[in-house]
């Protein structure tokens, strides 16, 4: 019997997991079904991280394996077939700050947990967040920042959202390096998350998924 992809990937057995995917694709299985298994496996990785069994290397490694699996499966996905998404989340590192490692892990964990993530990248001006909220109607905005300079940029971003009349339409979560509850109050955000799984929990609490 073929080994279970969910378990193999959740246990981070890279070679075995890729072999299973290869075999299943060769057997003509629906690639979306395989990707869904892989996604569920990474959800387990996230849970193990939240439980203190896994750490950041395991999150990052699972992301790499998932990327390889996606690359294998993607060419075989029929056009038009799409995965249903729970809700939209806008994410970006705020103006002046160019750090992306933490943000990328948050983007990845939100993505595998079913959210459609609109990643604006690094050093994102406040107006760009405002424009994206208008354009996408996303109900959640995540602001990332590693340095203390991010405190003011986060505050300015929340103020820009407010000035645009959009503050009651979105929930704002912040995270990164020196961010804590005091900064949350300072910036006028709704919540602070200490890691990627905290972001998932917050997003699920706000809009389900």
């Amino acid at each position: 019997m073929a080994k279970d992809l969910v378990k193999t990937l959740a246990d981070l057995k890279e070679k075995e997991a890729l072999k299973i995917v290869e075999d299943r694709l060769r057997g003509g299985e629906d690639p979306l079904k395989i990707l869904d298994d892989a996604r569920r496996a990474v959800e387990i990785v996230g849970k193990r991280f939240a439980d203190g069994e896994y750490f950041i290397p395991e999150l990052v490694y699972s992301g790499e394996i998932l990327k390889a699996i996606t690359d294998m499966a993607k060419p075989k996905i029929a056009k038009g077939a799409e995965v249903k998404r729970a809700g939209k989340v806008i994410i970006g590192t705020v103006a002046g700050d160019i750090h992306d490692i933490g943000k990328d892990i948050v983007v990845f964990m939100l993505d595998v947990n079913g959210f459609e993530v609109l990643d604006l990248g690094i050093d994102v001006p406040a107006q760009k967040f405002v424009d994206k909220i208008k354009e996408s109607g996303a109900p959640i905005v995540g602001l990332s920042g590693f340095l203390t300079l991010a405190f003011d940029s986060m505050k300015e971003t929340v103020e820009a959202i407010k000035s645009a009349g959009l503050r009651d339409k979105v929930k704002v979560m912040i995270g990164g390096g020196q961010i804590d509850d005091q900064v949350k109050v300072y910036a006028g955000a709704d919540a602070y998350g200490k890691d990627a799984m905290a972001a998932v929990t917050l997003a699920k609490g706000w809009i389900g998924g």
Binding site: Y54, F55, G96, T148, F151, D152
Partner: protein, 445 residues
């Protein structure tokens, strides 16, 4: 009769180094008061480090990035390019706030040199970040996953022919050539062909210009340190070292790269760190010899809580890091661990070092726990959050420092300090941190 250096134990070497630092040999003080203050400050820090004698009060030491520039009314960009402005700002910081020691003016770095060499490791003001912000590291795989063998077999060649051309755009021509593997008289001329090629000559021209700028800059660094010392403030760090895991993770393989390597090629990673450890020690010892400051900062990044499991920390981070620390200790140098992030799960592990030989400046670690576990072997400090200094009130800062002193200061071995470097802060909060320590931190004997 004085013992020769070779015959001294690490204890004796540390005492000799610190004694020399306290005695401020060759410093031309601006006044007898400045000399007295210098010696009191340095002695206070020495006592806190060595844990043999209770200091007169808890020392207070702040680390800062570009805050002094902004405080003096300059942009980070200005102080990176104009050494006079840098001197004004960094001096003003020390004289206005009067901490027990200063970090020197190395941090802003010579902007012009970065321009000349087209430095890729950082974005700096005017080059990828706005003039009002400090420089920020650009992570990348400057060493590829399949290049471990090249590094392990010949690190010097790896740096000069592979790494440097990648991190300095102006040195790209140095890729894939060096004078020779072997060279004898017959045919020697062939070996010098590359040096005639225009891109190589341009690279050398850039090196000469960078060298001239480096001399100008180091002259400023030395004069600045001398001026601050003359005013009564000892320098507290020089000649940096790092954990081999951070060396490879920060600027060779990148955060993601090194995490993948732990899974995909753990043996090569371990071997590379073994090769790296003595090189780090050698580099730091050279720095200390040049500056005379026997306290070496060891900025720590990727071993923090959450970044590795305890098993991974014990296998990948600690063994070669401990070798670096012991290598420095053997030379009588005091490693000053600047422990960014949380370190709660590592305290028991890093406890395994001789007493009174290192300083741990902790960022987001539980300080009561740190005192309990490390308190009788190592000097600890740090933990005042830069966020609190940026957006808190002086009263909140005082309350925080009071709690820290109440928790950690008992029996010495403790320095008040901030967690990560100060970039943005309210000046009144820094005053509150330093002045309150001076008032409340006096040891009653």
């Amino acid at each position: 009769m004085e013992k020769k250096w070779e015959e001294m134990s690490s204890d004796e070497r540390q005492e000799a180094n610190l004694q020399k630092w306290v005695s401020a040999e060759g410093v031309k003080f601006v006044s007898p008061q400045a000399e007295k203050a210098y010696k009191e400050r340095a002695t206070r820090l020495k006592d806190a480090i060595q844990m043999k004698k209770l200091p007169d009060r808890v020392p207070v030491f702040t680390t800062y990035g570009f805050f002094p520039a902004v405080y003096a009314g300059f942009t980070p960009q200005e102080v990176m390019y104009d050494y006079d402005k840098c001197n004004i700002a960094w001096k003003k910081y020390v004289l206005d706030f009067a901490p027990d020691a200063h970090v020197g003016a190395v941090v802003p770095g010579p902007g012009k040199l970065f321009d000349i060499l087209d430095y890729k490791l950082y974005s700096w003001p005017g080059h990828g970040v706005a003039p009002k912000y400090g420089y920020q590291c650009i992570e990348g795989e400057y060493m590829k996953a399949d290049e471990y063998d090249a590094f392990i077999e010949d690190p010097s060649n790896f740096y000069s022919n592979i790494y440097l051309p990648r991190i300095f755009g102006a040195l790209q021509a140095f890729t894939a050539f060096h004078i020779a593997d072997v060279l004898e008289m017959y045919g020697a001329g062939f070996n010098f062909i590359p040096f005639g090629l225009p891109p190589v000559q341009a690279a050398y021209k850039a090196l000469f210009e960078a060298g001239a700028e480096a001399l100008k800059w180091v002259g400023f660094i030395g004069a600045h340190a001398a001026e601050i010392a003359a005013n009564g403030f000892p320098a507290f760090w020089d000649g940096p070292a790092k954990a081999p895991y951070d060396m490879i993770g920060d600027t060779l393989r990148g955060t993601k790269g090194i995490m993948m390597d732990m899974y995909r090629q753990p043996d090569k990673l371990l071997k590379a760190m073994e090769v790296m450890a003595p090189l780090v020690v050698k580099n730091a010892v050279a720095g200390v010899k040049a500056s005379g400051v026997p306290i070496v900062p060891v900025v720590m990044h990727k071993g923090a809580d959450g970044f590795l499991s305890d098993e991974q920390y014990k296998k990948f981070y600690w063994p070669t890091f401990r070798k670096v620390l012991m290598g420095l200790i053997a030379e009588g140098i005091v490693p000053y661990g600047f422990v960014e992030g949380g370190y709660n799960s590592r305290l028991e592990i890093i406890r395994d070092l001789p007493k009174g030989k290192v300083i741990w400046f902790l960022d987001r670690t539980d300080m009561a726990k740190a005192k309990k576990i490390l308190g009788n072997v190592a000097c600890i400090g740090g933990n005042v959050p830069p966020g609190l200094l940026a957006i808190g009130t002086p009263q909140q800062v005082k309350d925080y420092v009071k709690k820290l002193i109440d928790t950690c200061a008992k029996d010495g071995g403790y320095i008040v300090g901030n967690g990560t470097v100060i970039e943005e802060a309210k000046p009144e909060n820094i005053h509150a941190m330093i002045d309150f320590t001076k008032e409340y931190g006096v040891y009653k004997k």
